[in-house]
């Protein structure tokens, strides 16, 4: 035995090292547990470094952005009058401030408005797994984070917490192939399962039978069935829907990733919400008042002033009805012929537009 070990020393140590790791793997897979100590060491060694680098990167990035802003100001000074320059600089500065503050502000506003209790976190790195969509955030058990908590952005769901350390946590993103969440469609209230596809921006909805109705452009929300995400959080809009063998093939564009993923919210205490009836609007859009009526336009194309008519077909029907009334014609009556459709219909007097 001793001769064998001496003769094949390298090979023996290799076999021992592989066996030890196989046992470690088997233990983890069988008990569904984790060897926390090794992970804590590794995360403890890397997280502070990643934080310092992130701080350094932000500092350098701000320095360079300030530097270029100043360069721009100098060039402007050469070209334009001092008064105009000052206004431009102020304007530029405010714009830069707005753009940098925009994301954080929207997150803060959402955090205030959301009925769920959330904790904001910053993403500081990716994990090292091959093909895995898992990121590291700068919040851990010290901030009350626990495994299984839902992670969202103001635009939709982003992932869930899988591992928690003192000052950092791992987040399994919605795009990971192993991710799954319960979802419900907005219009037809069809339940399904959201599955990540391993690439950015899109995911698949599974377990929806061919007989069930899903429209393209329809929104999906979290259903709360998975006991991770509270009900009523936006998931995404259906981009593709096909009939499969027995189940529909549905792909959604994930709304949570729309504006990038730098800051996220972890739901510490979730509150279920109703599924909204109106389609999701991502930002407030200012709508102008309708234009004043054009008195020269042909009456057939003018929207009716009464009733809920809106389409051209409705307006043409209304025009023909008026033509019939003017010519004392009753539609559908036997032997009555047809009215003169080309005769202009008398329009009602319009109120004058006051300036």
């Amino acid at each position: 035995m001793e001769f064998f070990l001496n003769r094949y020393r390298n090979l023996s140590i290799l076999v021992a090292a592989i066996l030890a790791q196989l046992v470690l793997l088997a233990y983890q897979v069988k008990t569904n547990g984790d060897v926390r100590l090794i992970r804590v060491w590794a995360v403890g060694a890397v997280t502070p470094l990643a934080r310092w680098i992130e701080t350094g990167r932000s500092g350098v990035s701000h320095f360079f952005s300030d530097y270029f802003v100043l360069l721009e100001v100098r060039e402007d000074n050469k070209r334009m009058k001092a008064e105009l320059d000052r206004i431009k600089i102020d304007n530029q500065y405010l714009r830069a401030e707005l753009s940098t503050a925009d994301r954080a502000q929207s997150l803060a506003i959402f955090q205030k408005q959301s009925p769920s209790k959330t904790v904001a976190a910053h993403i500081i790195g990716n994990t090292t797994g091959a093909g895995a969509k898992v990121v590291i955030i700068d919040r851990g058990s010290n901030s009350g984070i626990e495994p299984g908590m839902a992670v969202i952005t103001p635009d939709g769901i982003a992932g869930k917490v899988t591992k928690v350390f003192a000052i950092s946590s791992f987040i399994l993103l919605v795009t990971d192939q192993t991710f799954a969440a319960g979802v419900i469609s907005q219009n037809n209230r069809v339940h399904g399962t959201l599955k990540g596809q391993g690439y950015e921006g899109a995911a698949k909805i599974e377990h929806i039978q061919n007989e069930q109705k899903i429209d393209q452009g329809e929104w999906f929300y979290t259903s709360g069935d998975d006991r991770i995400f509270p009900k009523g959080l936006p998931v995404g809009e259906v981009t593709t829907v096909h009939q499969g063998k027995t189940e529909k093939e549905i792909y959604v564009s994930l709304s949570g990733f729309k504006n990038g993923l730098e800051e996220v919210l972890i739901i510490v205490e979730g509150v279920h919400m109703p599924i909204p009836d109106a389609p999701v609007t991502n930002q407030a859009v200012h709508l102008l008042a309708p234009p004043p009526a054009d008195p020269d336009a042909t009456p057939a194309l003018q929207p009716s002033q009464t009733g809920p008519l809106s389409t051209d077909a409705d307006r043409i029907k209304e025009h023909w009805r008026k033509v019939g009334e003017q010519q004392n014609h009753v539609y559908g009556e036997r032997g009555n012929g047809a009215p003169n459709y080309n005769a202009p219909a008398k329009t009602e007097a319009r109120p004058e537009n006051k300036p």
Binding site: R9, N10, I13, L14, A17, I18, Q21, L22, L24, L25, Q28, V29, D34, V35, I38, R39, W41, A42, V43, A45, V46, L49, A50, I53, E54, R57, I123, I124, G125, N126, T127, T128, G129, A130, G131, A132, V134, V135, I136, T162, K163, F170, L172, D176, Q177, T178, G198
Partner: protein, 175 residues
């Protein structure tokens, strides 16, 4: 009669390189940190498997299978700790890579750039293939293996390896 192994040991010791411990730890940490942090801002860099390249380099330069496999196991387990998967997946793969790279170094001139290119390619491909096999066999996960993509990424990693190894050569104390 004198056996080959009796000549091999002094030859190995003569040719093996020595590095400062701080350099070894620093380079390993940087390689892992690169994987964790830099790939976040430049997504294409996630295909650069620096921990693997570093494992291959040190194993080749030390010319000791035991040192190679232990270093591979350590860096693999550290990589596992920062991944979502159970500990041991990268550990096993990199243990084997370290062992084979060190065994290879006993027979070839590891300073030749062309050979380093080939070894970088071969070990990257072996690493990707073995990881895929282990993920399917041990974890039951259906990880997709896109062969063309793996080959292209292996070539890119091999090219990076040539330049990286030239830089790391400057950090040697002896050898």
């Amino acid at each position: 009669m004198t056996g080959f192994s009796e000549y091999r040991e002094p030859l190995r010791k003569e040719r093996s390189s020595v590095f400062n411990v701080a350099v070894i730890i620093g380079i390993s940490l940087l390689a892992i940190l690169f994987r964790v942090y830099v790939s976040r801002f430049v997504p294409y860099l996630q295909y650069l498997e620096l921990p693997l390249l570093v494992t291959v380099y040190f194993s080749l330069m030390w010319r000791s299978p035991i040192a190679g496999l232990l270093f591979g196991a350590a860096i693999g387990l550290a990589q596992d700790s920062l991944s979502h998967n159970p500990l041991g997946m990268f550990g096993i793969v990199k243990t084997l890579v370290g062992y084979f790279a060190a065994s290879m170094s006993l027979r070839v001139d590891v300073g030749n750039p062309l050979l380093r290119l080939v070894l970088g390619f071969v070990f990257f491909f072996f690493h990707a293939l073995l990881y895929w096999v282990l993920t399917r066999a041990l974890l039951g996960q259906t990880l997709q293996l896109e062969l063309v993509q793996v080959l292209v990424v292996a070539i890119l990693n091999a090219i990076v390896a040539v330049f990286l190894y030239q830089f790391l050569d400057r950090l040697r104390i002896t050898g």
